[in-house]
């Protein structure tokens, strides 16, 4: 029923024996291993909730697993509002459950280092496939590069690795494209012109390419806050899972698909013993694969789109489809070997349980994704993992005043030219934030963006075209287009939730609250809808709910709209991209 840490015995990654670390949770010692995050410690010990919400007192734990949703908040050494999925434990940490809103009572020692770079020719934000490729391309072009990323190691979500403390002898067995990645990773680490700032995040983007960074253990006090001035910037901030609301989706045990994968690949944690994977898109396949790898029983994989839709979508671009066919076949063999049923046209429409998911209701969907009455079935599960595509992490691009457009999936994306330059001169974008298209496209865009950014920094004009990169980008964009056509999100998802369903998880705003604000107060969107309903005003700043809120609000009034997923730029405006402790902000180093 509960989450667990996969035993090292028989693990294909051949995990070694990490050192034990002394920590306490709510005053009691808890078994913890070096390199684990607070969330990994909790889940390894079978705890999947460690926070209660402010209003209803509901339990919460990990949801997105990659730092976007702010649902897994915990108190560490007296400091509340720390994301358990982002914070790596240290010896002596005293971890406590966060009940509602909590005042800090700091016992942390503030140890601020002051050795950060203050300027670079090119600053790359994000160290996933796009960011790593961009940094190497820029460094190779002869300019100084600073890469800023929240992770402890480069790789992002796609190449998420086990902590070094796990001493895995065969880490490649958990990865796709490991060989190529390690070459890049090692080259980046040794590159004389590239500086990598780990456990660092850009919390503000000031005009004139000044990036404000905070560095140090995630969300703690005493992080170093400083500015880095760049001649050119490459934004490679990636994306996070899109999850659609239904009754019970805020129960512990309901995870984004990305969370399940990050915990499995990054910590050998299984989110449950019996797990159901549901949503849409080929990304659900590697998620199921990761779950199998940590020994979970995957009771089913539900693809919301019908096989007909998927086939028709891929067939719009057969050339692209053939390339991915072999990969799909491989997953098909894996699912068959583990007797995991793959059902098209089905999804989860409710999760049941008091303080934890115990069962889900699944239903067959019609072409518009409305549940077909009578098709509902109840399945006992310990966890459910959901992914309905992705939402790009756009706030820095918005702060940089980059124009947005609709990506291939209809979601918001950054407009770029052939050199990956945004509408803001000197600011480039690569990877998922220019449109959801996967790691290969992200890498290709990163190479183009890094090269172009270096040329910009050197005032050397526009770089010569590299035919191979252009071809790769073109191919990747065609793949992204076919992907979106094969796995569309249909409007019927709105019928899964009720008036009582929480839509904004942070502020516990229900669908009824949102629709009520529209109907009673005549507000349609933007700040007025936020401030009357409170949807999107929590710590995640609307990352999880803004697309859903916009769609639900639009359903309440008759205004012509560009498309279901057309999100106003204002919804992505987060001038403070990640929270900053007030004293750290107060101590921010003087400008140059």
């Amino acid at each position: 029923m509960n989450a667990y840490l996969r035993p090292a015995e028989g693990d294909p990654a051949e995990v070694g024996t990490p050192d034990a670390v002394q920590i306490t949770v709510d005053g009691q010692p808890m078994r913890a291993l070096a390199g684990q995050t607070v969330a990994a410690v909790m889940l390894a010990n079978g705890r999947d909730a460690w926070r209660t919400t402010r209003n209803a007192g509901r339990p919460r734990g990990v949801f997105c697993g990659i730092g976007a949703c702010y649902d897994c908040l915990v108190v560490v050494n007296g400091i509340p509002d720390i994301r358990a999925c982002q914070r790596t434990i240290r010896a002596g940490d005293a971890i406590t459950t966060q009940r509602g809103a909590v005042l800090p009572e700091s016992t942390e020692v503030r140890e601020v280092s002051k050795s950060a770079p203050k300027a670079a020719d090119v600053v790359v934000v994000g160290a996933g496939p796009a960011g790593v490729a961009a940094a190497l391309a820029a460094g190779d072009a002869g300019v100084s590069v600073v890469v800023i990323d929240g992770g402890r190691a480069v790789g992002g979500q796609f190449n998420r690795q086990l902590p070094v403390e796990f001493k895995a002898r065969r880490p490649e067995r958990l990865q796709h494209g490991w060989g190529a990645f390690t070459v890049q990773r090692d080259r980046l680490a040794k590159h004389s012109r590239i500086t990598h700032l780990a456990e660092s995040s850009v919390w503000a983007f000031e005009q004139g390419n000044r990036l404000w960074v905070q560095r140090g253990p995630a969300d703690g006090v005493g992080r170093e806050v400083f500015a880095v001035d760049a001649k050119a910037v490459v934004l490679a901030t990636g994306a996070y899972d899109r999850v659609l609301p239904f009754p019970g989706w805020d129960l512990p045990g309901v995870y984004s698909a990305g969370a399940a994968q990050a915990l499995a690949k990054g910590h050998r944690i299984a989110v449950g013993k019996r797990v159901l994977v549901a949503g849409t898109g080929p990304f659900l396949l590697p998620v199921a694969e990761s779950l199998i790898g940590v020994g979970a029983q995957v009771v089913g994989l539900l693809e919301a789109n019908s096989l007909k839709t998927v086939r028709k979508g891929w067939s719009t671009d057969p050339l692209v489809a053939t390339g991915k066919f072999r990969e799909a076949l491989g997953y098909g063999v894996l699912l068959a070997r583990h007797r995991i049923p793959l059902r098209h046209g089905w999804t989860v429409i409710a999760a049941h349980g008091e303080d934890h998911v115990e069962a889900v209701t699944i239903a067959r969907l019609d072409a518009d994704w409305n549940p077909i009455p009578g098709s509902e079935r109840r399945i006992e599960v310990g966890a459910v993992c959901l992914g309905f595509g992705f939402t790009a992490q756009l706030e820095l691009a918005v702060s940089a005043r980059c124009e947005l457009t609709a990506g291939p999936d209809g979601g918001p994306a950054v407009t770029v030219d052939a050199n990956q330059q945004t509408t803001t001169p000197g600011v480039y974008a690569a990877g998922e934030l220019t449109g959801i298209g996967g790691a290969d496209l992200a890498s290709a865009e990163g190479r183009v963006a890094g090269t172009a950014a270096a040329h910009h920094a050197l005032a050397a004009g526009i770089p010569p075209v590299v035919a191979a990169d252009v071809a790769e980008v073109v191919k990747g964009r065609r793949f992204a287009g076919a992907l979106a056509r094969a796995y569309p999100v249909r409007e019927g998802w709105r019928s899964w939730s009720t008036q009582e369903t929480v839509v904004c998880r942070c502020e516990e705003v229900t669908r009824g609250d949102i629709e009520g604000a529209v109907v009673e107060r005549g507000v349609h969107d933007g700040r007025a809808l936020k401030l009357t309903s409170r949807a999107g005003l929590g710590l995640c700043q609307g990352r999880v709910c803004s697309r859903t809120v916009a769609a639900l609000a639009a359903g309440q009034y008759d205004v012509p709209k560009a498309g279901q997923d057309d999100v106003p730029k204002a919804e992505m405006k987060r001038p403070i991209a990640v929270p900053v402790r007030l004293r750290d902000l107060a101590d921010a180093q003087e400008e140059l």
Binding site: R521, G522, G526, R527, L539, L582
Partner: protein, 386 residues
């Protein structure tokens, strides 16, 4: 149906001031159409703290308007439709504290007392009774029980709901382009969706009131002053009043372009603590300036040291409209009969909105005004000077 629309008064601007004027007018049966080029309550109204203050004003016409408006808000809230009447009104009181020489604050409070403000001088020992988490460096405090707070977007949308309930209409996404006159009088408003025939037009465009005035043939001097606010992660109840550093008092009346910040710290019902506020004269530039945020953070931690370990999760800001003499502009424009203005309330528009709506209505109907209207008249030199 654009073109066929008619109204007694077209209110241009669906912020708190336009909404309050429309509500007051419809309360006495005037037929009103409210238009806004954007969404309702999404400009200056959505970017402030929701101040209903008497503490920050020197004796004079604005203080008189503020005192009247505090009382008027009760009357307005009482007549709002019940389903939208909760606007998070809180009689929390203001608490101004000095950390240096207690003299100037004491003198300021004495002047306000003479003008009828309930201002109570508080010793440092008693200050911690009022605010237990306050810095120990306080030399004197003044408690203003009549300072209050409301949630401006809830208030504005509730006022507009009342307008609709009374047969008025509210049209967002409709840009008022100019006024049409016949025989020297306003007879309609040209909008992006056609003309609305009307007897009068009320310019309630906030910081953009100068531009609409000019488009209507009657330019007025209204300038934007930018203000930023920091929002913390939700906290349990920890700050009981609106707490100001005494230097706030100096900043409101000033016209210096240079950045000024004066600390204002307060909790909201949602648990967040709001930290304001900065004042910058930089036109309509809305780009983030970390220097400003850092200054706000420094001063807030100086006032409430526990805030140092609290996370700030959001910042927002907007443009406060002000006239060069720092008084609101309320009344008819003698240059274009039928054109009215209600603008230039600077950072006090939320608090002053209720009385502004009543004053506009009284002047419109020829009733005896409840406050002296003359200091706010449109044709004063500071407003008409180009």
């Amino acid at each position: 149906m654009p073109g066929a629309a008619t109204a007694d008064v077209v209110v241009v601007g669906a912020g708190i001031v336009g909404a309050a004027c429309a509500e007051a007018l419809t309360a006495v049966g005037v037929k009103v159409v409210v238009v806004d080029r954007g969404a309702v309550a999404s400009g200056t109204t959505a970017s402030g703290e929701g101040n209903v203050l008497v503490s920050d004003k020197e004796p004079g016409p604005e203080l008189e308007l503020a005192i009247a408006s505090h009382a008027e808000w009760s009357a307005v809230l009482a007549r709002l439709p019940e389903r939208v009447a909760d606007v998070e009104w809180e009689d929390k009181g203001g608490f101004v504290v000095a950390k240096t020489d207690p003299g100037p604050l004491k003198e300021f409070a004495a002047k306000q007392q003479a003008a009828g403000v309930d201002a109570r001088v508080i010793s440092p020992e008693d200050a911690f009774e009022l605010e237990p988490l306050l810095t120990r460096n306080v030399t004197i405090g003044v408690h203003y029980p009549d300072d209050a707070q409301l949630q401006p977007v809830l208030a504005a949308t509730a006022l507009l709901t009342a307008v609709r309930d009374r047969g008025g209409s509210v049209r967002s996404g409709m840009d008022a382009l100019s006024v049409r006159t016949a025989a020297g009088r306003v007879v309609g408003v040209e909008t992006s969706a056609g003309e609305i025939a009307c007897g009068a037009v009320l310019n309630a465009c906030g910081p953009w009131a100068g531009a609409f005035g000019a488009a209507a043939g009657a330019p007025i001097q209204v300038l934007p002053r930018r203000g930023m606010i920091l929002v913390t992660a939700p906290l349990p109840q920890c700050v009981r009043h609106k707490v100001y550093d005494a230097d706030y008092v100096g900043a409101v009346g000033s016209g210096d372009a240079e950045l000024q910040t004066s600390t204002v710290v307060e909790s909201t019902r949602a648990g967040t603590v709001l930290i304001g506020s900065s004042r910058e004269r930089i036109g309509f530039d809305d780009s983030i300036r970390v220097k400003v945020l850092r200054e706000l953070a420094r001063k807030a931690v100086g006032l409430f040291p526990f805030l140092g370990d609290v996370a700030v999760m959001r910042t927002y800001g907007g443009f406060r409209p002000y006239a060069p003499d720092h008084l609101p502009i309320i009344g008819p424009d003698p240059r274009v009969p039928g054109l009215w203005h209600a603008a230039g309330h600077e950072g006090a528009g939320i608090g002053l909105a209720a009385s502004t709506g009543r004053l506009i209505t009284e002047l419109f109907l020829g009733l005896t005004p409840h406050v002296a209207p003359d200091p706010f008249r449109v044709d004063r030199p500071a407003v008409l000077a180009s």
